[in-house]
């Protein structure tokens, strides 16, 4: 089992870039249908309509394919969250939380099955330095947004909010939910509740949890 998780060689021509893309997409589809256990290099190659040799030209191991998929997912999540934070600059804590929650939930709902599998893979694999870095950036982003709004103990609060959001999103997706708004309002309640903020109700009639 090879140690390297980074691409073996960079594709230089259009043709080979296409090959890389096709391989990654094939892997993604296999993961969606059969999970981590279904992912084999031969199968990826066949599904991609490419020979194993070509696969190994760009990915030194099965794990490298996984790592690349994770890297891309994480990078796009980070980018979306950065945009979200930008968009609420100067606005109060509630809005910042809303924006971040919305961004991350939306992200989970694009290819839910794939996202779930990749997340599991992420903490099974000894994840690479660059992946750690991306994760660190994301935490920094959240911590910054909290600190800017005078939240005390921002490090731990950020950790907890991310974890809570992650938990609810994973469970909801696992059980087949696809309604972003429902998920959003519930996660909103949890996070604002954790922060000790009053939960302003989007739908006054149905927002209450405890009965009279």
């Amino acid at each position: 089992m090879n140690q390297r998780l980074t691409p073996r060689k960079q594709p230089r021509q259009k043709r080979s870039q296409e090959t890389c893309a096709v391989i990654l997409e094939a892997a993604a589809r296999i993961l969606e249908t059969d999970g981590l256990g279904g992912l084999t290099t031969n199968r990826v190659a066949v599904t991609a309509g490419v020979s194993v040799g070509s696969l190994y030209q760009y990915f030194p191991s099965k794990e490298a394919i996984l790592a690349e998929l994770i890297r891309r997912l994480r990078r796009s999540l980070l980018a979306d969250c950065q945009i979200a934070v930008e968009s609420v600059r100067g606005r109060p804590l509630e809005d910042a939380v809303d924006a971040l929650v919305r961004a991350s939930l939306q992200h989970h709902l694009v290819r839910p099955a794939l996202a779930r599998v990749l997340e599991r893979a992420e903490d099974e694999l000894p994840l690479e330095e660059d992946l750690r870095a991306i994760k660190g950036e994301l935490m920094k982003l959240v911590i910054g947004a909290l600190k800017d709004r005078n939240v005390a103990n921002a490090d731990q609060v950020a950790f907890d909010l991310v974890a809570l959001g992650h938990g609810l999103a994973s469970a909801a997706i696992a059980s087949g939910e696809t309604d972003l708004e429902s998920l959003f309002s519930r996660l909103r309640r949890a996070t604002l509740g954790y922060l000790g903020l009053p939960v302003s109700l989007p739908e006054p009639g149905a927002g209450g949890v405890t009965a009279a």
Copy 2:
């Protein structure tokens, strides 16, 4: 790959019961150190100090070992939660939430690494009927505790609370936390916040989240 996940034959003598136990413990230790990928039948047998043949006498497949470990973990969690709910019969919602949160957190902290791996395995494996049943019981328990205290929309609230707790616990354990009390107070804040209840502070000085 064999389909059966239930033990192939029941051990009748003390000797064979011991063999089963040793096999399961070996599998658990392998999972703790090397994760799902490290689990192979040969390795389990060697680690257990038992021959592969003996292993297959009681477990028809690798998955069966995993399933049995999951079954045991889940059963003990259910039992602990049932006791917790009993112990707060007639007491208010806050106390019930506290008891359940405490029970499940304690459960996660016994063998954290093992618990985590088994949970991942649980939704990779096509989980069995009896496991579904246990999970269903657990949800029923939480839903019942909520309904008894007049919580509206108990089904979804239960789902969300369990998911939130799960998320925070997993993340905390993954990052090496072991302080039950810290975890407890944070998860307490999140759950009570979600429920719209005032968070009564265990430590008035350090309890607040938003600064003045």
